[in-house]
């Protein structure tokens, strides 16, 4: 009975999707995804991957995709602009807003996916939908079923983008369902910084179901800053899939502040030897928020390096979930992997579920993981108080420092400052 209800909810979310009207290259991908949505059911807490995150609040509401023209102007989003960034793509409720965007169309392409598709079909089709797999992920399948536009960053061989690319996804409508999509193709030896940011101009409930694919060719280097600042009523489901080739390096900083319920899946696959990834994650939540991060780092080949640090600051009756899976495949010798999950509980009703998980099939590897859950160290608070700070200032300073360690790695000064201020404001409120 439950199953039927779930499936009809998923089917309801499929309504309003684009149809095969243009004979474009994405028809097959979409058709496959639609079929998959029909087979999959909405995950429940009986699924191991979702056991701590109950989607019941989501299913109590209806969300419809918005297909009109974006109705906001520059001044509405001025406060989100990043001074260092020369290229920006803006999507409003999932719809590309050309009047707010500054694309680039030379050797390096920063453009809406639909606009770039005719010229770069081969490159796009080769990777789109092939990294963020949707066989067992109903939300990724749903996003793919809606796929007709998105943000594209295409870096040719040895291209270096010195200024960060800003991909801004703005939510403005109550009960809208947006399915944003990013595709970053970094050619061999290329270098770039991409900021993927989700913001809201409304306080209402809506659904963001975002998927991003980041494909790094040999020796490419990508810094990916993902900022989730949805409204406090929103539902945010995100999935980033990263594929790393020989000698490539992915540096991810993923910060989540908003949403009533957020779920972020990060899949990193090291497909060739010598790939490296460094990932910092931060979730700061309070009230009745729930932030769930599931990451998977797959060392499929030898000589891979991964370093991951995930931090949660949990106040109110909020709940943070972290599941960090690290796989070292057979033959992936000399892998060096370190993971830590650190969690700060600020209130009596806050809750953390963390599971750092190692699966190792090779013997000559170095893998370590650690997890801590606790409150601020009494000695540290005392130290600051002995220097004349009040109890509350001392606590908020320490909480801030706990989170700032992650944000500090953001290489874009104005964004870093802005997020650190948000962090400070949030810790003071707590």
């Amino acid at each position: 009975m439950m199953q039927v209800a779930n499936n009809s909810y998923l089917a309801g979310l499929l309504e309003g999707r684009p149809f095969a009207d243009r004979g474009d290259a994405l028809n097959r991908l979409r058709a496959g995804a639609v079929e998959r949505v029909g087979v999959l059911s909405l995950p429940s807490t009986r699924d191991e991957d979702w056991r701590f995150t109950d989607l019941a609040p989501l299913t109590k509401m209806c969300f419809q995709p918005y297909r009109g023209v974006p109705a906001i102007v520059e001044s509405d989003i001025a406060r989100y602009s990043i001074a260092e960034s020369a290229q920006r793509l803006v999507f409003v409720d999932g719809v590309y807003a050309p009047q707010l965007s500054s694309p680039l169309n030379g050797g390096i392409v920063v453009s809406s996916l639909a606009a770039a598709l005719p010229a770069h079909a081969a490159a796009i089709v080769a990777d789109l939908g092939r990294r963020a797999l949707f066989d067992n992920n109903a939300f990724t399948a749903l996003n793919t079923a809606f796929l007709n536009d998105g943000a594209l960053v295409l870096l040719p061989r040895n291209a270096a983008l010195d200024t960060p690319v800003h991909l801004l996804f703005v939510a403005t409508r109550k009960e809208a369902a947006a399915h944003p999509r990013c595709l970053v193709l970094a050619g061999a030896g290329s270098r770039a910084t991409v900021i993927e940011e989700y913001v809201a101009l409304t306080e209402d409930a809506y659904l963001t179901n975002a998927v991003g694919e980041f494909v790094l060719a040999d020796d490419a280097q990508l810094t990916h800053v993902r900022v989730q600042r949805e409204s406090r009523q929103a539902f945010h489901i995100g999935h980033s899939a990263v594929a790393l080739a020989h000698g490539s390096r992915y540096h991810g900083i993923h910060a989540g502040f908003g949403a009533r319920l957020s779920r972020f899946n990060l899949d990193v696959v090291q497909n060739a030897e010598g790939a490296e990834c460094e990932i910092g994650g931060l979730a700061i939540i309070d009230g009745s928020q729930l932030a769930d991060t599931h990451s998977s780092i797959d060392h499929a080949r030898a000589h891979g390096v991964s370093r991951q640090q995930h931090k949660c600051i949990v106040g109110g009756s909020a709940r943070a979930v972290f599941n960090g899976r690290i796989v070292v495949r057979q033959g992936a010798q000399l892998t060096n992997s370190a993971q830590s999950s650190r969690n700060l509980l600020l209130s009596e009703r806050a809750r953390v579920d963390t599971k750092p998980q190692l699966e190792i099939f090779a013997d000559d590897v170095k893998c370590a993981h650690g997890a801590t859950v606790g409150q601020l160290d009494a000695d540290e608070v005392f130290y600051l108080k002995s220097r004349g700070l009040s109890e509350s200032v001392a606590r908020s300073l320490l909480t801030y420092a706990f989170g700032a360690e992650i944000l500090h790695a953001i290489p874009v000064a104005s964004l870093r400052d802005r997020l650190e201020k948000m962090l400070l404001a949030q810790t003071e409120r707590a």
């Binding site: 191991e48 579920d353 963390t354 599971k355 750092p356 190692l358 699966e359 190792i360 590897v365 859950v373």
Partner: protein, 478 residues
């Protein structure tokens, strides 16, 4: 790894699989009638039959757990005979009749002479009067008021205790195998330490004559009253032969105020041959309840046998300031699969728990640590420290860790650490420089790796366990 090491392991299990149970055996299959038959045969009171039937009703509604990281063909529960009255095994006349290979193993393990005879099934009175020893021990225990007997005996002699505590820690419907055990258990041990008594000796299954063949559905219940303390040893390092493939035991521990229970296990059941054929499925539910304030339960296990191990000795820390500990060494070789770990459920204030788990995998085996640390909202000031280390020997085995941490109280402090390592060429080289051969070096390194756990074992067990790991890894270090 080097070729010297390659040659060191992969020695076959030397003693084959002995089937020597001849007994009054029930027809295969499980139904309500089977359970009534077991209960009638054992002349049980009505409340116990009810307990069994309730468990059976639960079991019927359940499905075997599929979440563990182990793979095996489905067990046909109707193909098992659930009752077999143990008959004395055929006794050998003297040590000379014992399989020399078995004696060699005893030699390697350093099992004391008198115990070797008993373990080998030699009629003990010829060499060693175990009956008188056991009687002496029993008298000594009875003097201080300790009850230590088989659970069937306890059902008749001390029904009030059994009725009060049986199923109080592991409820009949707890999990699939616990429900099955509750429905069909035939025997096991019962131990009761009265108020204020410190058990004068380690209670060991060695010297228990009454439950020699406690069967595949063993049930153990240990109760330590206020201020009592006991150390209980289960199993032994010598290889154990058994014809039953499925073992589903349940162990329940209850510690009241200020009580202290230490439970040590060394398990070396038949693990199947090097191609993974045969071997015992060891699906065990072990749980201790720290019911009273300042109580303490400590689990120590050395798991080296069984084709499949599915075992999570747990502590429910209900009493304020109670302490739970778990020390484990799990070694898998060839095609063995182990999914083992612990659960620490913190309910009372200022409860503390410590987990030290060492996994060693060799051959093509799979070794998983799966643990849960849960801090309930009531457990202010709770503290947990977990350490899970894995060592891989060879590149075809796997080591996994699945630590679940669920914290609902901000005053709690939870730490988890895990690492994976291997025996390095440079370490072996260092030993070689000092004239120590590869085999001995590996044994020393492994024992160093497991030191934290072995220190928790009673001394003679620790000595044997150290050697046991060496024996188990013979020929597999590569």
């Amino acid at each position: 790894m080097s070729s010297i090491l390659q040659n060191l392991v992969n020695k076959p299990y030397e003693h084959g699989f002995v089937t020597d149970i001849e007994s009054d055996t029930a027809a295969k299959g499980l139904s309500e009638a089977t359970i009534r038959m077991i209960s009638a045969k054992k002349n049980e009171p009505a409340w116990l039959l009810e307990f069994r039937l309730k468990a059976y009703a639960h079991w019927l509604t359940m499905t075997p757990p599929a979440w563990a990281n182990v793979h095996y063909p489905p067990v046909d529960f109707q193909a098992i005979s659930y009752y077999s009255a143990p008959k004395p095994k055929k006794k050998l006349a003297s040590m000379d009749e014992v399989d020399p290979e078995l004696l060699k193993t005893f030699e390697k393990l350093g099992v004391p002479m008198n115990e070797r005879a008993k373990l080998a099934g030699v009629a003990v009175d010829v060499i060693f009067d175990s009956v008188s020893v056991a009687t002496t021990y029993k008298a000594k225990l009875a003097e201080v008021g300790i009850i230590f007997c088989s659970i069937s005996e306890a059902v008749h002699e001390h029904p009030e205790l059994i009725q009060k505590y049986l199923g109080s820690v592991v409820p009949v419907g707890d999990n699939f195998y616990a429900a099955l055990n509750s429905a069909v258990f035939t025997d096991g041990s019962f131990c009761f330490i009265p108020k204020g008594v410190k058990c004068p000796m380690d209670l060991s299954t060695y010297f228990r004559i009454n439950t020699e063949s406690s069967g595949q559905f063993e049930r153990t219940l240990i109760i330590a009253e206020d201020g009592a303390s006991v150390s209980y040893l289960e199993g032994c390092t010598a290889p154990k032969f058994d014809s039953n493939q499925l073992h589903a035991a349940v162990v329940e521990l209850v510690a009241l105020d200020n009580a202290d229970i230490k439970y040590s296990t060394v398990q070396n059941w038949y693990a199947g041959d090097e191609n993974g054929v045969g071997g015992i499925y060891n699906f065990v539910t072990k749980r201790g309840l720290c019911k009273g304030v300042n109580s303490r339960i400590s689990w120590t296990q050395v798991e080296t046998g069984s084709a499949i191990t599915w075992k999570y000795p747990s502590c429910v820390l209900r009493g304020e300031n109670s302490v739970g500990e778990f020390y484990s060494v799990a070694l898998t070789n060839h095609h063995q699969q182990a999914d083992t770990g612990t659960k620490m459920i913190h309910i009372g204030k200022n409860t503390r728990s410590k987990i030290v788990s060492k996994g060693i995998s060799a051959g093509v085996s799979s070794n998983s640590y799966r643990g849960l640390v849960r801090i309930a909202p009531t457990a202010a000031g709770a503290r947990n420290y977990s350490q899970c280390d894995s060592m891989l020997i060879g590149d075809k085995c796997s080591a996994n860790t699945f630590p679940y941490i669920d914290v609902r109280n901000p005053g709690a402090q939870v730490e988890h650490e895990a690492s994976t390592s291997k025996i390095g060429e440079d370490q072996l080289f260092y030993f070689a420089q000092r004239g120590i051969g590869a085999e001995e070096a590996v044994s020393m390194i492994i024992n160093g790796f497991c030191k934290d756990v072995f220190q928790q074992l009673p001394m003679e067990f620790a000595v044997e366990a150290t050697k046991l790991l060496g024996v188990k890894l013979e020929g597999s270090v590569g």
